[in-house]
């Protein structure tokens, strides 16, 4: 079992059973939120051994007889995490804490390199246990926009379009599954991969879970998710399972980087 969220959360909307499809929640205590950022979230966005590994990477690059100087300059540059990267790490921690979502660990990842936006998903993991395990793919947006819904929800690069694409784009799903196959082979996640994969194939690619996470530092308002959330709720229990989650943080998004990088 995963660890429960150890800070107070207030459910804001909706008030009916549609809460399984869309939901807005406020993180109440700013001090507990700070601790969460400095603990599990910080561990996901910082890497003490990055410079040692980079030297090994550059030594290996020399064996290709290609010039390494420019690549060294780019990769050795000091880069602080940016707010949306912290948002992705925060979303991972929240989903892990609340729903027991597990993330196949990539021990070689360079945490200073933002994840590629395409093709793929911000979040790639497993939801559920045993034969009930399904793939969970998700997208994360972080926004201080005063408008409800915020601009990051709409348009081609918006959260809603990305979730719709993840639900139907078999080529992207196929790429993610091949990546996960390599990631999980011979690890503790092999069983989960097999269960989720069987469900995926038997359902023609539909039995997966999709989650859109919206991270805000504004006052909670159901208009952030309502239009699309009600549509998902009206469809009932169908595959793929889609859920929209808005989290309202007690600290300004502009301060997240300082909070995470503070000693």
């Amino acid at each position: 079992m995963s660890m429960p969220i150890d800070f107070e959360v207030r459910r804001e909307y909706p008030t009916d059973e549609a809460i399984v499809h869309w939901r807005g929640s406020t993180i109440v205590d700013p001090n507990a939120f700070d601790l969460f950022l400095r603990g599990p979230v910080k561990a996901r966005v910082t890497d003490e051994e990055a410079s040692t590994r980079l030297e090994q990477d550059l030594l290996a690059l020399a064996t290709t007889e290609m010039e390494a100087q420019t690549i060294r300059e780019v990769l050795a540059a000091e880069v602080d995490p940016i707010d949306w990267e912290i948002g992705e790490a925060l979303a991972e921690c929240l989903l892990e804490s609340e729903f027991g979502v597990s993330w196949p660990w990539n021990e070689n990842r360079d945490k200073k390199t933002p994840r590629a936006s395409l093709p793929g998903a911000d979040l790639v993991g497993f939801l559920g246990e045993g034969d009930e395990t399904v793939f969970l793919f998700g997208e994360v947006k972080t926004s201080s926009d005063a408008k409800c819904p915020p601009g990051v929800l709409a348009g081609r690069g918006g959260l809603i379009h990305q979730i719709d694409a993840l639900a139907t784009d078999r080529a992207v799903q196929s790429s993610l599954l091949k990546w996960l196959a390599a990631r999980c082979n011979g690890t503790e996640n092999e069983g989960k991969f097999k269960s989720a994969c069987k469900r995926y194939i038997q359902s023609g690619g539909k039995d997966i879970a999709l989650v859109g996470v919206l991270l805000r530092d504004t006052q909670p308002h159901q208009d952030d998710l309502r239009t699309r959330g009600e549509k998902f709720a009206a469809a009932g229990v169908v595959t793929p399972r889609i859920r929209l989650d808005a989290w309202y943080a007690p600290r300004a998004i502009a301060d997240w980087v300082d909070l995470v990088t503070a000693a």
Binding site: D57, I71, L75, R109, T113, A116, K178, W179, A182, N185
Partner: protein, 347 residues
């Protein structure tokens, strides 16, 4: 091992895919384009996933079977709608064919497809990616020395052009770190291709015979670069190329005939030599299996019967057996009688 990926597909999905594959094979006769069922692409992707699952495993037979399914389905599939992804699609298909021990079919397949070069105003990242895919396609086709020479030339060109193009590209990029890792992964793939091209033509690289170790080092570093930036698609391609390169080494005429005797070595040098208008760099799977895996070149065999279909390389196998026998009975001044039922077979 039960192939749970395939058994997770419905009977209807598998059968309708098989029907299309069969119709496509008869296209030359019927000129009738198959009608692809809605589930075709999904089934082909499941077959590809089956290969991905066996790439790190220790079950060569399962990998071969899974690769054969993927090769058949992709080869018979429709052209990709996304033109940019077409070369990688072709490369994936050819890799599955090599892993399925279908090298003659792969050569035919590659002769029948056209892959355009990336446009000249493409940025350095796109050019490197396109060039690397192109040189691996050449390496898989190996249509004489020209393909192997072209691979080595392309890698040299990359080194020459890098200085002028890479810096401008990376510093203008909105995602310089991701692009830098993309380049690192591609440079290791280019080096692996260069090493393999040299090995295919000469049987050694820089006087060393540790070809597998040299290749593995490059593929491992390419995979790490993919991991660093989570380059999902490239990671899958690198894994596939690593397994394919291993297969090419196993099929190489140098590997199959290594450490037999000097007569065989001289014969192989002549077969792969530049003076040969149709050089032979690798064995067909039945030849590899007969000569290497079933030990036909061992001196212990007194009588050998080889039964293979027409055009699968029996005479070539016999040539090696003849050389081995001449070497074995050199002191006794042994000789060989080659008996054939028709004159045509001797010409």
């Amino acid at each position: 091992m039960t192939d749970w990926v395939v058994s997770s597909l419905s009977e209807d999905q598998r059968q309708s895919t098989s029907r299309v594959i069969n119709q496509r094979l008869l296209f030359d006769l019927t000129q009738a384009e198959p009608i692809y069922p809605d589930t075709y692409e999904f089934t082909a992707q499941a077959y590809e996933l089956g290969v991905a699952l066996y790439l790190d495993g220790e079950d060569p037979s399962a990998l071969r079977t899974a690769s054969e399914r993927a090769f058949e389905a992709l080869r018979a599939g429709p052209m990709a709608e996304d033109v940019a992804s077409w070369p990688v699609h072709i490369l994936n298909t050819a890799c599955y064919g090599i892993l399925a021990d279908r090298t003659p079919d792969v050569a035919r397949f590659l002769r029948g497809v056209k892959v355009d070069d990336v446009s000249s105003d493409a940025n350095w990242g796109e050019r490197v990616r396109s060039r690397v895919v192109g040189l691996w396609l050449l390496l898989l086709r190996k249509d004489g020395w020209s393909d192997l020479d072209a691979v080595q030339r392309a890698v040299l060109d990359l080194r020459t052009e890098q200085e002028a193009a890479e810096r401008e590209f990376l510093f203008a990029s909105s995602a310089p770190r991701e692009q830098a890792w993309n380049l690192v992964a591609a440079y290791h793939l280019a080096k692996a291709a260069e090493v393999l091209a040299v090995f295919c033509s000469q049987g050694a690289v820089g006087g060393a015979y540790d070809i597998r170790e040299q290749l593995q080092a490059q593929f491992d570093r390419s995979l790490i670069a993919c991991d660093r930036a989570e380059l999902v698609e490239l990671h899958s391609l690198v894994r596939l190329l690593a397994a394919t390169a291993e297969k090419i080494v196993s099929n190489s005429i140098w590997t199959v005939t290594r450490a037999v005797n000097s007569r065989v070595t001289k014969f192989v040098e002549k077969l792969a030599g530049r003076e040969n208008p149709r050089p032979i760099f690798e064995m067909l799977p039945p030849q590899r299996i007969t000569l290497r895996e079933q030990g036909l070149l061992g001196s212990g065999h007194r009588a050998v019967l080889v039964s293979l279909p027409t055009s699968s390389g029996k005479t070539f196998i016999a040539q090696f057996r003849i050389l081995q026998a001449l070497n074995q009975f050199d002191v006794e001044r042994g000789w060989v009688a080659y008996v054939a039922p028709t004159r045509a077979l001797v010409n």
